[in-house]
């Protein structure tokens, strides 16, 4: 744990009716770092961010931002944070500039400061040319950029981004990543949720993996990858039948099959390839063999399947 965590969750509990969204979630985000909150749909990511951005109250546990409690000191928390939710929350009938100025004013900027900040942000986010057009005419990527710009308008030290790149094309996604990187270099502390492990890999100093509202694992992307091993062997077969046959022959190496491809995790380097190919002797021939670095996807699958089987999911930090 860091010496001075800016975002702190302690035993957060939240239920919607009888559905448990958060089940004692705890984690810290150190100052000036990015934490990626990772998990499948319904794992509690959005609920967590909503609690930190003060739009939802936890039923148990404690959440603080810069030392301020999100429930009892919500007004102070709101001054410290910028929030961009899953959908670009802007008024389609206002122009980009009008949207930003409105959020700036409501974030307690004086009229001249709001005007100046908006112009700066429009410039940085590449929206100056479109600033006078209504948002209705914007592409999805432009809306998203405007939405994130709105979260930054009062220069908050802490940012919450809920799936900032969901639904974006690769080019827009890269632009958002670039912006996030710039922000962090500028000193922001950030909690972002994502379903893309690639994204957490690219942006986050720390990854918090949650499932069913509980912490599954926490660590740097590098450390988490280490847990799976140093390489993943990936075999592609001509058809699914061959892949199924090969899956049976490799049962000892715990392969994972997706259609006509098999992934064998936890292997060590190229010697693994030799071992796998030998084991397949007399069986179906793969059409392609690949060795690659394990991604967080591999980590995620191995961790959540473990967690789903085992009773205790290792919730302690």
């Amino acid at each position: 744990m860091a010496d001075n965590p800016v975002i702190v969750a302690r035993g957060l509990q939240k239920k919607y009716g009888s559905t448990v969204a958060l089940d004692g979630l705890s984690f810290d985000v150190p100052a000036g770092s990015v934490t990626g909150l990772l998990g499948p749909n319904g794992s509690g990511k959005t609920t967590t961010v909503a609690i930190f951005s003060t739009s939802l109250r936890p039923q148990g546990g404690e959440a603080t931002v810069c030392g301020f409690d999100v429930v009892s000191q919500a007004a102070e928390v709101r001054r410290q944070i910028g929030f961009a939710g899953q959908f670009a929350a802007v008024d389609p009938n206002l122009t980009g500039r009008e949207n930003l100025r409105l959020i700036g004013r409501l974030s307690r900027l004086s009229r001249p400061t709001a005007r100046q900040r908006c112009d700066e942000l429009l410039e940085v986010f590449g929206l100056t040319a479109a600033a006078g057009r209504t948002v209705r005419t914007y592409s999805g990527g432009m809306r998203r950029r405007l939405d994130i710009a709105a979260a930054l308008v009062h220069q908050p030290p802490v940012l919450f981004l809920d799936e900032p790149t969901t639904g974006l094309d690769p080019e827009s996604r890269r632009q958002v990543w670039q912006m996030v990187g710039d922000l962090v270099r500028g000193g922001s502390t950030m909690l972002l949720t994502t379903q893309y492990l690639e994204e957490a890999d690219a942006l986050a100093d720390q990854v918090v993996i949650i499932d069913r509202g509980r912490l599954i694992e926490q660590g740097t992307p590098h450390a988490l990858r280490q847990r799976v091993g140093t390489a993943v062997v990936r075999l592609t077969f001509g058809d699914e039948n061959s892949a199924v046959k090969a899956e049976r022959m490799l049962a000892g190496s715990s392969p994972e099959r997706h259609g006509a491809t098999l992934q064998i995790p936890g292997a060590e380097g190229s010697s693994a390839v030799v071992r796998v190919i030998r084991a397949l002797d007399g069986g179906p021939d793969p059409v392609a063999v690949e060795i690659r670095e394990p991604t967080l996807d591999d980590v995620f699958l191995s961790l959540t399947s473990k967690a789903l089987i085992g009773k205790s999911a290792g919730g302690a930090t």
Binding site: Q86, A89, L106, Q155, P157, D182
Partner: protein, 270 residues
């Protein structure tokens, strides 16, 4: 990039809650008005319906409805004014549920802004729209033969009562709008309430023509009270007690529904 990225360097203000409520309400109202002005089809739709009713009752049904001593159009128009703002109040529910769906309401709730301003800004903008539609209907009424008989000040007073009633009713629809994240659903849920309010009233026909049980219902609801105050203000006759009853209804509705709306708003974080 550095000036944009560096946190905590923008000068933010720390106003008192009342000043914050006032400035935020102004900003939110302005945003809603701007948004409305850029979707003229919405204004158009809120005009079509009362215009059709005027035409329908003036030319199609009106001949069959006899009100002793006065032309039906003079009896009808106060009812149309009341109906116009009643249906206008639906716009509050539709507008809020649009903001719920777009996520804008959630964003507002994470900003260091006045809680009251989000709802007040909505209802004030709807008040302005109601006023525009109402003035249009006044013009239309005069064009199809409506005349006032009790002088201009009384008529302006009548319009004031209509607007106040519409504003109070807007607040009744805040809760509906906050509950539904679908503008179409908000519209569909609101219309039956509106029909009951408008048609189980003396807006178009005298209560005495209704069956006894309906007279009891229609005789004790705010829209009938409003129309009862408007008619003498337009046609002449004793007004004071009717005006007071309508003011009491609108004032009471305002107090109750503002309180309910704020409570509903506070509980959004559950």
């Amino acid at each position: 990039m550095t000036s944009v990225a560096k946190p905590g360097t923008a000068r933010t203000e720390r106003p008192g809650w009342l000043w914050m409520a006032v400035t935020d309400t102004v900003d939110v109202t302005w945003r809603n008005l701007l948004s409305m002005a850029r979707t003229p089809q919405v204004l158009l739709f809120s005009l079509i319906q009362p215009v059709l009713f005027v035409l329908l009752f003036r030319y199609a049904f009106g001949g069959a409805i006899k009100i002793p001593g006065i032309p039906y159009i003079d009896y009808l128009m106060p009812g149309i004014f009341a109906q116009t703002v009643a249906f206008g109040a639906l716009g509050t529910a539709v507008g809020l549920s649009t903001d719920v769906r777009s996520g804008l309401l959630e964003r507002f709730r994470t900003l260091p802004m006045s809680r009251l301003a989000i709802l007040a800004g909505r209802t004030f903008a709807d008040l302005a729209r109601n006023l525009v539609v109402l003035l249009f209907m006044v013009g239309m009424g005069f064009a199809v033969g409506f005349r006032i008989h009790a002088g201009v000040p009384a008529f302006l007073g009548a319009l004031g009562l209509v607007v106040l009633f519409g504003y109070a009713l807007s607040w009744a629809f805040v809760s509906l709008g906050l509950r539904l994240s679908n503008p179409e659903a908000a519209q569909a849920a609101g219309v039956p309430i509106m029909f009951l309010l408008v048609f189980a009233s003396s807006a178009f026909v005298p209560l005495s023509t209704m069956p006894g049980w309906l007279q009891t219902v229609a005789g004790h609801q705010p829209l009938t009270a409003l129309v009862a105050a408007l008619r003498p203000l337009v046609l002449g006759g004793p007004t004071a007690s009717y005006v007071l009853v309508s003011l009491a209804w609108s004032g009471g509705m305002l107090v109750v529904f503002v309180a309910l709306a704020l409570r509903q708003y506070q509980s959004l974080n559950r």
